[in-house]
Each structure stands twice: as C-alpha cells, then as structure tokens.
C-alpha cells in the first residue's frame, strides 16, 4: 500500500498531486493545509480511470484530507480533533491497522516548550484510541512542525520516536516507573545530502545565530508492530511529479510555484 503525504500550503496543486499519485501509484493520499475543492481534485485524480474515492464524509478534521483508492467506508475516522484524525483501515482479507494523520501546531505561534507539552497531550489521545480499538499497529504521518530530534518527538512522554529500528523493537522505555511504547522514526535517515538531495522537507533560512535551515517537519512514525511491514527503500522526499520540479536549482523548495514543504512517500506491505 503506497502512501503519500504533502502539506500543500493552501495552494491549488491538484494537477501536481494527480501527477504524483499516478507516478507513485499512490493508494492513500494525505494532504495538509488543503484548500482544494474535493470534487475538483477527485476529477483530476480520476482523469484516466475512476480509481480514487472522496474523503470520508464523517471526518471533522479540517486540517487533513485523505483520498484513497478504496472506498471511504474502509477508512472510517475513529477519533479526531481539528488537528488530527485517527482512521481504522479495514480492508477485506487484510489485517486492520490505524492510520493517524496530523497537522501539528506551528513554530510561528508556539514555542518549542508548548509544542513539547502538547505532544504529551496528543500522544495520550493516540494511545487511548490504540487501547480502545485493540489495534497496536499504528502509522502516524503528517506535518509535525518539529524536527525528529526535538523534545516533543523524542521524550518518553511525547512521541517517544527513536531513530533506531532495533531500539523501537525493544520493550519500550521505563522512566520513573512508567512504561512508554516506542515509535520508529525512519525520517532520521533522510537528513543531509550525502546520499540524496534535498537535505530535508522544509527550508527555513532564519536570521538567528542558530538555524538548522533544512528541517524535516514532514514525517512518518511506525509502531513496532508494523515496522516489519514497512518497505525501507520506499521512503523518499519527493522533488518532482515527473513533469515539474518542486525545488529550485539550489534544491530548495520552489514555494512560489508549489508548496514550501516537499511531499514524502512510503510503502507498507501486507
């Protein structure tokens, strides 16, 4: 099952999305900051054949839109707020799992401390849904507005997302008598430009003395139970839809024409 996530920054990028979905045979398309009319996008996605279905009408999460190649009845929302939607994917003859999509609070209005604190609150809601649904296989994808190394992503009572598959497959962390389950965060492996360009998903040239410039805000996290289904070679930061380049010559996002975020894609095999 091929997933694609893109924060499209409120732009009508439906032509580019359609090209991406065709190029990468996307089964689950997740959009953040989408102001594109659902029906118009659906027409573009289905221009060659009627493959995609509209988003589940039950969803009240206004920050995330999910289009799928299977009927929306197979991806009902289970628990939501304005900023996150947790879906149960129940396809015939396939093991059920949870898909959590988020568009997290941004850095321009929230301090790192606030982001970290709110990560602790969000994870409680995710864990409550995992327990209520009895499903421990959970994929969390979205725009976290935090880098993988930031406090909210790392701390045990936040996302507790480790860069190491081996650690994630362990028994979790016990801190002061409390047990915390891990997420595996494969996005760490996409930092820098030694293997592939660009060096992140979001470029922000801050004038501060300390500036990472390249950030990986767009991430996918996996619970240990679903790591074995994850195709590691599939994870990519995407720079082109096959026709248009989303980056300029310097490999930075061309936010004038496209989004200031680059899309990511990955595959889960069942």
């Amino acid at each position: 099952m091929n997933f694609l996530f893109w924060n499209i920054n409120g732009k009508d990028l439906s032509d580019n999305i359609a090209l991406l979905c065709e190029k990468y045979s996307t089964d689950v398309l997740i959009l953040a900051e989408s102001s594109v009319n659902d029906n118009n996008l659906l027409l573009k996605l289905n221009i060659n054949e009627s493959s995609y279905y509209p988003p589940n009408p039950l969803s009240n999460c206004t920050k995330i839109k999910i289009f799928t190649k299977f009927h929306f009845d197979f991806i009902p929302p289970v628990s939501e707020s304005v900023r996150f939607t947790i879906r149960k994917i129940s396809l015939p003859a396939q093991e059920e799992f949870l898909l959590t999509s988020i568009h997290y609070i941004d850095k321009s209005n929230h301090s790192n401390e606030s982001q970290s604190e709110m990560a602790s609150i969000l994870i409680k809601q995710i864990e409550a849904t995992e327990i209520e649904s009895g499903l421990s296989k959970n994929i969390v994808v979205g725009d976290f507005n935090m880098n993988p190394f930031e406090k909210g992503m790392i701390k045990a009572n936040g996302f507790n997302a480790t860069m190491s598959e081996d650690i994630a497959l362990g028994s979790g962390r016990v801190v002061q008598g409390s047990h915390y389950r891990y997420f595996y965060n494969p996005m760490w492996s996409l930092y820098g430009d030694l293997m592939t360009k660009p060096a992140g998903t979001y470029f922000y040239p801050s004038s501060e003395l300390v500036s990472y410039q390249w950030n990986i805000f767009d991430q996918v996290l996996l619970r240990p139970e679903i790591i074995s289904n994850f195709d590691k070679t599939s994870l990519e930061i995407i720079t082109t839809d096959g026709v248009n380049n989303f980056v300029r010559n310097n490999n930075r996002p061309n936010s004038g024409l496209f989004s200031d975020h680059l899309p990511i894609k990955f595959t889960i095999n069942f």
């Binding site: 009408p57 009240n60 939501e80 304005v82 900023r83 606030s114 709110m118 009572n157």
Partner: protein
Amino acid sequence: MAEANDLWPEFGQIEKIRSPKTIMIEQANFLNEKTKNVLSAKVETSSSSTSSQELIQFFKIYVPALNNYNFSLFYVRHKVIFYPLVIGLDGVQFPIDDEPQFVEKLIEIFNSTTTLKIIRTLYSQAVE
C-alpha cells in the same frame, strides 16, 4: 502537658467549589439530553505526563451509531487546586483564572460556528 490550641481560623459556612470536571460533565449531560442521546459527550480524565500534580480532562463527543466515533472538542489542564487552569482548543491554550471565566469560555466554545457545525454534522450522520 499544655492543652492543644486550635490554630485554625473560623471557617463559617465553607463554600463548596465545583471542580472543572463537574462543570464539564454537567455540560456533557446537557448535550446528551439535547440530542436525545444520539450524541454522547463524555469527560475523560488522564494524568498529565509532564507533571504528576496535573490532570487533563478531555471533552469528547461520541457517536454510538457510528461505531463510537469520537471527536475531541477541547481539553482542560488543571492542578489539584483547580484554578488557574488552561483550556486547549484547536492547538491554542487559553489561561483561565477562575470559575466565571471558565464558564464564559465554555459558552464561547459551545456557541462557536465550528462546534455547532461539528454537532450538526455528527447528529445528521448518526440519524441518517
């Protein structure tokens, strides 16, 4: 041995303070009544993982007819002494000093266009 002295002041009639959770449960019950239990609002308590003295109260609207789908409308974070507390709504945290301010904020949340839209949508889908 000297006789023990009562060092406490005279309390008179001790004023009872309603906890934020009690107020939230009352409002949850009103919503349930108004929707004839088609929607089922609940207050779920969780201990804060950032401070052992803090509790988080989530105000969630459940839809039993839709496989118990739930929407987390807002949350309240408070300590053992209830006020000041913080209301978390749509990624923004609002500091609240006392009960009248808390009630005022709840009125604002419950009457907002977003909340009413969510309630109408959930109700309509449940009774379809």
